[in-house]
């Protein structure tokens, strides 16, 4: 099986750094998601792994061997593109068999492999069809089959489902995840959809402006984002401006105040406090905020709150809770992350209003 290592990878387009000094290790059998907004360099990174773009600096190694000087046809990688994957003048079987024929396999072996891989992706009857006779989802399955039939060491997926409708997209990514687990292939999956990344990835590499921000498991990324960008990009986050009090013992964010433990005393005076919507809790001793809007999202409620000092806040709560628009509620902060610019502090609450502020 295969490990993939990117060492200080860089790529310039003109004066613009598409990818800057990217170092990343993908473990054997792991599904790594490259996640970021469009233009963050994730697709460029994937294309460099596949051999379709030449890095300006750095190295790409598969099982410790550099592949950076090899053209795409000699790399043990297989790519599934966003679209325009299948050759329209060949049948499904022809598409899948193309790479096998180049390897001079006997035709009986080719037929067997084509049938096997089509069964694997759930399209056993499609061999003699042409791509235009298939739906978008089926075309992408065939593209996955064509990539897998060559038994590559690394599978590369470039937003393969972004052109499918929402339901099918969710269905397909589950299928790909199961398939990937079953055959245990090392996979790099590019997406701009954080939900997609959080649901299928073993680990996620978040990128912004060509720079790797954080590599972590979905859980860790959600619970302990290491940069303000990741905090804001992954999930929903309330960002509050906070001040460290002169003595350095406590922190104030709007009406809320938190005494800091000695080990968590930020150096600067200005910090940004990141609070997950589910970490806002109703508390009799909390700060008063007004309910502006209650949005029913099925199994939970999203509540928009107005606080004169902090602006709009979002809160998630289960359906049992009763909130009325226009009502005043008292809230405390159960857990927060403080970004000081140089470090991230994980702060346990509850944060309640300071004595001075509540009076």
């Amino acid at each position: 099986m295969a490990r993939l290592s990117l060492h200080h990878l860089s790529k310039q387009f003109g004066t613009h750094a598409a990818v800057h000094d990217l170092t990343l290790d993908v473990r054997d059998g792991e599904l790594m998601c490259l996640l970021g907004p469009s233009g963050c360099g994730k697709t460029t990174t994937l294309r460099m792994i596949g051999g379709f773009a030449q890095p300006d600096g750095g190295d790409i190694q598969i099982n410790g061997e550099s592949v950076v000087s090899l053209p795409p046809e000699r790399r043990p990688t297989a790519m599934v593109f966003q679209r325009y994957n299948l050759w329209p003048h060949m049948t499904v079987a022809g598409n899948i068999a193309f790479g096998l024929r180049l390897r001079h396999l006997p035709s009986s072996a080719i037929d067997a492999k084509v049938a096997e891989v089509l069964t694997l992706v759930g399209l056993p009857g499609a061999a003699q069809k042409y791509p235009h006779q298939l739906s978008g989802g089926e075309q992408q399955r065939v593209a996955v089959a064509r990539a897998l039939v060559l038994e590559p060491k690394i599978l590369l997926l470039d937003e393969p489902f972004s052109n499918l409708d929402a339901r099918l997209r969710v269905h397909m990514r589950e299928e790909v995840k199961q398939l990937q687990r079953k055959i245990g292939i090392t996979t790099v999956f590019v997406t701009h959809d954080q939900e997609e990344a959080l649901t299928i990835a073993d680990r996620i590499a978040v990128m912004k402006d060509g720079v790797l921000q954080q590599v972590d498991t979905p859980d860790a990324l959600y619970a302990r984002p290491q940069t303000l960008f990741v905090a804001d990009f992954i999930g929903t986050m309330n960002l509050l401006q906070a001040r460290v009090e002169a003595a350095g013992h406590a922190l104030t964010a709007g009406p809320w105040r938190l005494t800091l433990p000695p080990s968590h005393r930020p150096a600067g005076a200005e910090v940004t406090l990141a609070v997950r919507p589910e970490d806002l809790v109703v508390d009799p001793g909390g700060a008063p905020v007004r309910v502006r809007r209650v949005i029913n999202l099925g199994h939970y409620l999203q509540i928009l709150l107005d606080s004169p000092e902090t602006g709009t806040l979002r809160m998630f709560t289960d359906k049992g809770a009763s909130f009325v628009e226009g009502q005043d509620v008292r809230l405390a902060i159960a857990r927060a992350l403080a970004f000081t610019g140089s470090e991230v502090l994980e702060l346990g609450g509850p944060m309640r209003p300071s004595v001075a502020a509540s009076e």
Partner: protein, 274 residues
């Protein structure tokens, strides 16, 4: 006043539609029909609506040594010009579509220049050049002058065709192990084939119909069918011109029939249904 009531009557609407169609058909097919009647006409005297059927002008034409020589010359020079044009232009078109190089746009536009000026002036200066190169009144000279007329079609149509083929299709082939050449011949070229056939069709017709330049470069011994047409129309009875016109349109007709088999293939738009 609204004319809505008129269109509301289905029968009337259909009658107008049918008449418009018939008028258009008559406009397009009428001259061709007259041509066909003349081509098979013997004597055509006043009270008769149709002439007496006869193949005598066909015998007359096909037994004329100059005419058959011109037919041979046309059927030789036009295919050679088309094939040469394809060999030169299709790789160039691929480069125009796929690579960025200095002066790419200007070079691409320069292929319009042969059609941007009055041709006769261009042909005279080319003739001067060919005269110096001893290519006047040779097959090579005729092929060269026909080639010039095909460049526009053979560059512009294939460039558009290649540009319309998504790079992912080529990259996918590289990805599964095909080298650049195999990718071109087994992926790009087959997908581009309908566009290339159209380009060849136009090029062939442009080469085949070329008369001005061939007249200047080819006389007196390398006369093609369109050049011959001048002589025939000027100095022979009307049915001769008609017969020859039918002969002139035969190659394009055959080409069209062959080409449409390929153009009908459903894969033209295939693979793009996402």
């Amino acid at each position: 006043m609204s004319a809505g009531w008129f269109w509301a009557i289905a029968g009337l609407r259909r009658a107008v539609g049918v008449s418009a169609f018939l008028a258009l058909a008559a406009f397009i097919l009428g001259p061709l029909l007259t041509l066909l009647i003349w081509a098979f006409a013997g004597t055509w005297l006043f009270p008769n609506l149709l002439p007496e059927f006869s193949l005598k002008w066909w015998y007359y034409i096909l037994s004329n040594g100059d005419v058959t020589k011109a037919i041979r010359m046309s059927l030789l020079s036009a295919p050679i010009a088309t094939v040469l044009s394809a060999l030169i232009c299709i790789p160039a078109a691929y480069a125009f579509a796929r690579f960025e190089f200095p002066a790419r746009r200007i070079l691409l536009l320069s292929f319009l220049s042969a059609n941007a000026f009055p041709k006769i002036g261009l042909y005279i200066s080319i003739a001067t050049l060919l005269y110096k190169l001893n290519l006047m009144d040779t097959l090579t000279g005729v092929v060269l002058i026909q080639l010039i007329n095909t460049l526009l079609f053979m560059i512009w149509i294939p460039t558009g065709t290649f540009r319309g083929i998504n790079r992912n299709l080529e990259e996918a082939a590289r990805d599964v192990g095909a080298g650049p050449l195999r990718t071109f011949f087994q992926i790009t070229l087959p997908i581009a084939l309908p566009g290339l056939i159209i380009a060849s069709l136009f090029s062939f017709l442009a080469a085949f119909d070329e008369a001005q330049g061939t007249l200047i470069v080819g006389t007196p011994n390398h006369i093609t069918m369109p050049v011959m047409m001048y002589t025939l129309v000027l100095s022979y009875p009307q049915p001769v011109g008609a017969v020859f016109s039918v002969l002139l349109s035969l190659p394009s007709l055959v080409f069209l029939l062959v080409a449409q088999r390929y153009l009908r293939a459903g894969y033209l738009a295939a693979g793009y249904s996402l």
